[in-house]
Amino acid sequence: MALPYLWLLLFFVVPFIIVLKISFSDIDLAIPPYKPLLEWAGKHSLAIKLNFDNYALLFTDSLYLHAFANSIKVAFLSTLMCLVIGYPMAYGIARAKPATRNVLLLLVILPFWTSLLLRVYAWIGLLKANGVINNVLLSLGIIHEPLTMLYTPFAMYVGIVYSYLPFLILPLYANLEKMDWQLLEAAEDLGCRPWQAFYKITLPLSRNGILAGSMLVFIPAVGEFVIPALLGGPNALMIGRVLWDEFFSNRAWPVASAVAILLLILLVPFMMWYQSVQARESAGAR
């Protein structure tokens, strides 16, 4: 146990401390491109220089706040859309015959095992001007000019919902599978309409599944890089992309670190919430 513990401490926790440290240092034209925080000033005095400029930049340049707000909006709406599509699927799978259920589950898991990059790439082929969707619609005579879909917010939403859908279905299915369906039958025997029974029984009982699945979509989607970069076009301002560009294009490591720290502060409450939902869920299972 000590080995994984130390491993995670060294490669998962310590790095965050370094990110925090570098977020307070000056940008420097050197390798690595930042100045040390601690410097010997004179013979016996060690000076700490904390530079708040990086954080000030994030709050004064509207680009960053805008990117943060947009990321939260995109992640939230994508999570909602995943729920709308994924809930009926998870429900249907949980209520299917055991043999069918296994096949359907396998079909949900399969895309999850094939490369995310390749699945996002598939959407470029579908959405572009001379892509599959436009070609089909044109040949059916529904449209007369190709629709612009690729490199729009629409494409980005499609990509995110598509990629994260299995993450929502699987925990939700695991929760619904444990459901006692006799409760529903009892409610219907007592005169409840199916929709009412669903709203009063199934939905509240699957609360933990909904929450766990939504977190698994929302948290990574806020920091998503690949999908906005490939499908969203140059105006798709997401914070994960801003961090990437600051780091790789501008070589502004301290600014990228400050972005990472703010993003982390934003997401930690959700991560803790997720962990407590998970703990409740596994306590209920035993």
Binding site: M1, L3, P4, E224, M271
Partner: protein, 274 residues
């Protein structure tokens, strides 16, 4: 229990699966398309295997695939060792100092945005190099360490849930009969959790094989992985060779998944019979 599903639910399932599979199937179909325009079907010369030949002669992609394979195998093996230890500790020892931290540290990487993990690992490697001179530059080693850090979290979850669901009576009986803890682990616990270890290994392999973001941060010159090469190609638009790559990936993955799940279903049936 009845298995009836309403028409509404069936429609939702049908649409949901169409949504999941149409993009994938379109890549498979267009991998046999002769036209360089990829999505415009050239019916005169298709289906063709010419892009398959092109891919198999593309040095850049083959080199990258070889690097990816090396990283993925080392990563999967290392992640399984670390993940089994962590999962075992969390499932079997209810109370120990640092349990809460270990639990948090194995859950967080599952949801942590990759850009954060990638950036923080890179900054760690840079700081370590300045401090102790290791790692000298970045490449396959640093990339593998990065992959292991998030893959082991997945293995831990899988192993932990498998251990939580099986009866400790077997282990206790063996202990009563005088078996040493080490022997119990290898003779009883390990065979029982073997399916979890296998799925963990496969998942860790795939996570590493597919990873773009953490690899981009932690790799160095001359160690571009397959996703990195694919990403730079895809940024320039669609390419028929990528469709071929997707088709091959899909074929390998689905064969493997179906084989493993058939094997596990059979094993579960044997367990029930016994």
């Amino acid at each position: 229990m009845n298995y009836r599903s309403s028409f509404f639910i069936l429609t939702c399932i049908a649409f949901g699966f169409a949504f999941l599979y149409i993009p994938i199937l379109s890549m498979v179909v267009f991998s046999f398309n002769a036209s360089k325009l990829v999505t415009v079907w050239d019916s005169a010369h298709s289906p063709t295997l010419k892009w398959y030949y092109a891919l198999l002669n593309n040095e850049e992609i083959l080199d990258a695939a070889w690097i990816s394979l090396k990283v993925a195998v080392i990563n999967a093996t290392g992640s399984v060792i670390l993940g089994v230890l962590a999962g075992f500790g969390l499932a079997r020892f209810r109370q120990f100092r640092g349990r809460f931290t270990l639990n948090a540290m194995t859950t967080a990487p599952l949801v942590m945005p990759e850009v954060i993990t990638g950036l923080s690992l890179l900054l760690l490697f840079v700081a370590l190099e300045q401090l102790i001179g290791w790692p000298a530059g970045r490449g396959i080693t640093t990339m593998t360490i990065g992959h292991m850090t998030f893959s082991m979290a997945y293995v831990t979850v899988i192993v932990n849930s498998r251990l939580a669901s099986f009866d400790t009576a077997l282990e206790e009986a063996a202990m009563d009969l005088g078996a040493r803890p080490f022997k119990i682990f290898f003779v009883i616990t390990l065979p029982i959790i073997f399916p979890a270890i296998l799925s963990g290994w496969l998942l860790a392999f795939t996570l590493s094989w597919d990873d773009l973001v953490i690899s981009s941060f932690t790799s160095g010159p001359g160690s571009s992985t397959l996703p990195m090469v694919v990403f730079s190609k895809v940024r320039l638009g669609v390419s028929p060779e990528i469709n071929v790559l997707a088709t091959i990936t899909l074929a390998v993955v689905s064969t493997m998944i179906v084989a493993v799940s058939v094997w596990m279903a059979r094993r579960a049936k044997l367990d029930q019979a016994a």
